[in-house]
Amino acid sequence: MNFDKELDARGLNCPLPILRAKKSLAEVESGQVLKILSTDPGSVKDFAAFAKQTGNELLSTAEAGGEFTFFMKKK
């Protein structure tokens, strides 16, 4: 998937992945896509909840070898 910015939040724990994502989203334009890498298992539900509450669109969630990859489109 194409993306405009990447955030490496691997090794970080709650609430840092969300806080960093919020910051990274502020640095892209509306409609652009942020790719997020995380190792926090809690981040799967947290990013879904973050998207729901902020109106940003979670395009996809994937897991491979304990690593999670999210694509989020800015509102």
């Binding site: 090794g11 970080l12 724990n13 709650c14 609430p15 840092l16 969300i18 806080l19 994502a21 919020k22 190792t39 926090d40 973050f50 509450q53 902020t54």
Partner: protein, 170 residues
């Protein structure tokens, strides 16, 4: 009408472990678009001091706290050091050692420091209020605290809290 969600927290505890919930919840709520205020009162004032070294964690009389070592092989880290209260209370510096070990565990788990979380709250424009009465009661000076704090009483807190979606006492 202003439809921004709001959250107010009353932070009353002055230990390292209890400094986490207010700052984690406040910074996360701010990231979700909430307008947030934290009212620091009594021991909670420790969380907004310039010097955070007073924030310690005490396993003494705290049966809910697992005492595990943050270093060594996996089997060693898995041991829960169940030390009787009577011994904990007699060993000088026990709290400082426990606090040091806790800080190592925090770093190992990729959990932010209190100082970092506090800065993140401030960057996200979480408003910090401190209870003027307890500042005087404990003999603190305003210069003991970080910048950007408003010193107020309960009535000022209610002005915001009465209009919130979430209000927590921690």
């Amino acid at each position: 009408m202003d439809d921004t969600k709001k959250m107010a927290i009353i932070a009353t505890k002055g230990t390292l472990d209890w400094a986490y919930p207010p700052f984690i919840l406040a910074s996360t709520a701010a990231a979700l678009g909430y307008e947030v205020q934290i009212f620091f009162t009594f021991y909670g004032l420790q969380m907004v001091r310039k010097d955070l070294s007073g924030l310690k964690v005490s396993p003494l009389g705290n049966p809910g706290m697992p005492m595990k070592m943050p270093f060594g092989p996996k089997w060693f880290k898995g041991i829960n050091w169940n030390i009787p209260n009577a011994i904990q209370s007699l060993v000088p510096g026990y709290e400082s050692v426990a606090t040091g070990l806790m800080k190592m565990t925090i770093a190992n788990c990729g959990v932010a420091t209190i100082s970092d979380l506090r800065s993140l709250c401030q960057e996200a424009e979480v408003k910090f209020l401190a209870c003027q009465m307890t500042v005087e009661l404990f003999g603190f000076e305003h210069t003991d605290f970080i910048d950007g704090i408003e010193y107020v009483g309960a009535a000022t807190f209610f002005e915001f809290a009465g209009d919130t979606d979430i209000c927590l006492f921690i």
